[in-house]
Amino acid sequence: MSMIKEDRQVNKGNFRIMTVDLSSGKASIEKIADQDKAVGGSGLCALLFEKAGLKDEPWNHPEQPLIFAIGPLTGYFPLMSKTVCAFKSPYHNQYTESHGGGRSALSLRFTGLDALVIKGRAKRPCLLSIGSNSLEIKDAHFLWGMDVIYSGRIIRHMVEKSHGHRSILRIGPAGENLSAMACINADTYRHFGRLGAGAVMGAKNLKAIVILGDSSLPMPQENKPYRKMWKEVFQDVHSSGMMHKYHDLGTPANLERLNNIKSLPWRNLQASYDPDAHMISGQSFATRHLLRNLACSGCPVGCIHVGFVREKFTKDSRYYYQQMAYDYEPIFALGSMLGIKEPVTILKLIEKADRLGLDAISAGVALAWATEAMEKAIITQKETLLPLSFGHGASYLEALGHLAVASNEFYRLLAQGTLKAANRYGGGEFACVLGQEMAGYATGELFFAAQSLGFRHSHLDTGAYSYEQKHAEQDLKKAVDFLLEDELPRCLLNSMVACLFSRKVYTKERLAQCLESLGYLDLAANLDKAAADIRRARWKLRFDTGFDPDEIEIPKRFFKVTSWKGPVDRKFLLELKRSYGQAIKNLVFKQANPPQGTRK
């Protein structure tokens, strides 16, 4: 173990970036100024991609960077436990981000890096291991084709250092086969899930990254203000009840509530309500299938809900058991969206998607489309290789395997995105795609417009789904203003890098206090400007790599949804999309004076 010294507390003032070139097997360490401007995380990724990204080359060009970045508060405060991964996405060939937790953020911090950039392509499958005073690129051809769980077990033996503190990021067969739905698995139960980061590793012949996290850092010079702030934040997180919902039933607590307000997508969004939703509610999972909770490093909340399945596999009393993390989104995508109402089946599907290194949301939504396409005889078993039918889990377990390894032309296309397959076979009108496969919120026009155009096409880009549950009125300006305003504080949180579950704890004022306590005085005084700059830099990269809001179409299925507000209003949805699209364009192309942050 070593302690990282030098003239810094962390890397204050300068970012410390390691770039590994897998083609040459060499690495470089660089110090980059502008910490007050780019902050970290999301902002730092944009800065690094602007420097190193090949905007006009395809996502799988060997020199495209795969970036992992943390922020100034990582490790210093509770719930500052996320890492931002940035890359050119195989899904849309544009710049994007995917966020993950586990041990990844703290292990980067304790390896002494603000960001890790991976370029080049290894000649054969490899494993990259980095520590505060070590770097190894190991042959890993024997891991290729191996699932995420089993390869994790072998990697733990291949890299024996820093046991307990290292983070192991790895891909499964989906990433190796360059699926646009391939995730990067972080420490078994967390993921850089969406938009195909796993395929970027696959294209680089990179099976796994081990981040050792094997050093320590000095405290701020003025230690007292920091200790006081830390205690204050910890009390808020731990004792105030603010985080209760996340560690009680966790995100699945939302499921029944969304169903009750006709906002839970069922059977490829042919319905937004089902009377049996209680069977797959958060309470149902907790009572019968919750094994225990886990936490990302540095987070006392422990929102990770690990479920278990115990199954008899012979006539005699012989059993095996499996563990898997469940959350609202995978339960929606591999449960209600596929018409499955048995928690055990849903957990097995989640486990299978995990093993294969597939993003559970995209995979479930894609298979829901394939099922309806089969029902409508647009495709047949010749394409799907299986009789897909809503509610029948056994076929879906197998179909996930086909999707991950692209067993035939149909699955190869589907793995690139539902609309890619629909373009070939038809059925685009009922593809549940909002920029990418939808997240589980059929709340109405605002969410559909927001995910379609959102920076990551994620339900976390803004709080549209939450706003919409409280606002039935059709106020176009108010709604678009909300989307614009709500993105700014999220840009800051994603640059610190906070878990978004802590967004009520980390108000802008609180973030400024935390930064001040660590000596980031300039940054603390200019958070509005930093947020606006980061937002603009991120959107600029999207436009520079081909994003055009006018090119994104909302499939017909979304216009047929009935939510708690009644049937979707076609005109309002189109107006929202046009108006939000224009507002996003204005952020990049018309912005003489960046808007000021409005977080209360």
């Binding site: 703290l106 304790f110 078994t188 320590s216 886990l294 540095g298």
Partner: protein, 147 residues
């Protein structure tokens, strides 16, 4: 006088807040390693966690192994390491059979001082301070503690 025990480690969620708190408040570092208590998974996260810390054994092997007498035995259990007497030879680190002692970048050994600060920050109540009664004591007295 009490000593630290991870009496309910089966509840551990692996947040490392105990280690981070100890490093922050006792050792003045941002660390999950230079800390009196360290958490690691026992063979992958799916198999649960174990806590590594000083067990306050009755006849501390670390103290016996120290060539300069820098380690003294606390009456209440555990040891005290005097930095000014330590020559950073790592003998204590090697001697401890449960790997409870770690070291700083400068080679100084770090061990749990049984102050109990970490117990305030564990979100699941895994840690507590209890009266030091070793199983050896119980054995010597020819009875059980009733636990």
């Amino acid at each position: 006088m009490k000593i630290l025990k991870a009496t309910r480690i089966e509840r551990c969620i692996g947040c490392h807040v105990c280690s981070l708190s100890c490093a922050r408040l006792v050792h003045g570092l941002l660390s999950w390693q230079v800390s009196g208590i360290r958490i690691k998974s026992s063979g992958g996260i799916s198999t649960g966690f174990e806590a590594t810390y000083c067990l306050a054994c009755k006849e501390p092997i670390c103290a016996r192994s120290c060539p300069t007498g820098a380690i003294s035995i606390r009456k209440a259990g555990g040891v005290r390491i005097r930095k000014d007497l330590c020559i950073r030879c790592s003998s204590c680190i090697e001697a401890c059979p449960v790997n409870a002692i770690t070291k700083t970048d400068h080679g100084f050994p770090v061990v749990c001082i049984h102050c109990g600060l970490c117990t305030n920050f564990c979100p699941h109540g895994c840690l507590e301070m209890i009266e030091a009664v070793s199983s050896q004591d119980v054995h010597d007295q020819g009875g059980q503690t009733g636990e």
